[in-house]
Amino acid sequence: LGAQAAIAQPPGYKGDSAILELPEHSKGLGQPVAARAYGEPSKFEKNLQRRESPGLTRVAAASVSFAPLQGLFGIITPNGLHFERHHQGWWDIDPNQHRLMVMGMVKQAKVYTMDDLMRLPSMSRMHFIECGANTGMEWGNVAVPTVQYSHGMLSCCEFTGVKLSTLLDDCGFDRKNGKFVLAEGADGSSMTRTIPMDRALDDVMVAWAMNGEMLRPENGYPLRLVVPGIQGVSWVKWLRRIEVGDEPWGTKDETLHYIDLMPDGTHRQYTSIQECKSVITTPSGGQTLLDKGFYNVTGLAWSGRGKITRVDVSVDGGRNWKTARLEGPTLTKCLTRFNIDWVWNGGPAVLQSRAIDETGYVQPKINQLRATRGTRSIYHNNAIQSWKVAESGEISNVQIY
């Protein structure tokens, strides 16, 4: 007999009633196929929802709902739980009435229907999308209890669409003087963002699908921009127009928001790239370990500058580190799932993860970021996250560096 047999059962114990008494589902007939033509999660999964952070924004139509990272697996975010960020509410737009106009410094301004676009050479790529304000509430002190609120403006999908460069080429854009592209949405805010031409010609996509199906209305149905590695606000939803120009546009969300207040009182404008970052998602803040013993510690790593090459994990608040397993595929500007073994001995512990990307950049500590950017920032907080494990097994959000 193995060592486990040592865990003796009370004398006379026959076994678990969940085994000895066969459950109904082993003794009856279940539901037919296509009972749900479009399926839904189990009723036991209802706790995992996208949720707002009370007090974060004033109105729910210009707000954020956070993805429940504490309960997600792998790298794909289920579309139903993709985080939301709207500036003037979301719409379910009739795709047959939707148009994309490409104009500005082009030989021929053109209008494309969805029919047109979906006939063009298409591509599919997996990428993360992270709001520039993700983890923004934690620039100063610890503020939120769980990874849903600290890191949940993060999702990852397989996107399908046409390369933006295909459209720019089709309209004969000005290769010499066209230095920037404006993307504009069709919602009330008609969100506008400037994309530098080198990005536009690299991996930017005009996408209609996420995770195998059309975009969800909340995520821009029927058309959105996908700007890999760049903060989510640039991934213009309900995309209606692309303009080629020679200067950036300085739009509301490039001049009044998504700017970083530096210690000298200047603001950095056009801070766009989501730098290398990681977070342990389970176990994480607001969770309680069931008991002592073995745990799989898991989390996500990503970089707006390319692939993740390594993730290290510490269980002693950053004093000692071990390299985690990365689940393949590790793709550029895409989430990477990491896992590592841990035996909790019942004592206090602090869990941290630290990602490294293919440029060699090492995810920083919050004090390193503050040394450069000060304490009054909001966006682009890619600091190492610390989760403190109490002896009770309850885990809480702390800052340790």
Binding site: Y112, E184, W249, G250, H267, L290, V398, I400
Partner: protein
Amino acid sequence: QTTYPGVGRPATPAEITAWDIDVRPDFKGLPAGSGSVAKGQVVWESKCASCHGTFGESNEWFAPIVGGTTAEDVKAGRVKTLVTGDVSRTTLMKLSTISTLWDYINRAMPWTAPKSLTTEEVYAVVAYILNLGDILPSDFVLSNENIAQVQEKLPNRKGMRRDHGLWNVKGPGDVRNVACMKDCPVSSGPASSLPEHARDAHGNLAEQNRPVGGVRGAETTGKPAL
């Protein structure tokens, strides 16, 4: 011969006009027209003040639009409280390009009826906001002719920088951490911990976690941390 026969068609001039509404910092895209501060006050009080406050001070729907700038700032082109203060930032404290205000109001405001303002109304309400911020006098008429001069009065017109590594994908990161593996230096104890009142500020965490797996959500309703 196009590469993609049958796909797309030329945009008509009227179509381009209907959608090409963006206004750039160099005023490309700005339609000719004008609007007075007085007219702006009418627009503001009937269409904007309910959300943003009579003086643009409201914190109810969004951060205040007006406030926090001084005559000093207007001269310097830099808002001083941004250097020293830890206060919440109003729109006018941040605004570096007047086109931004014009473009945004024109495309997105009023919030529940975006794109309903006439060109004159947009000029006027922009003028009125700047008047509320003591940047323009009460008798001012803002127009495409004088908007460039008004730009030169914005309190924070010199407050923006682009010399950083977060715009270029090949740019350098701000900080260079090193991946120490063993006996690394760390601060002693947490520099910050979740305040007790924040533990349940997001509701009962037990209901936000799966009721199965190696972990459970902590019960945070009416219970202190264990």
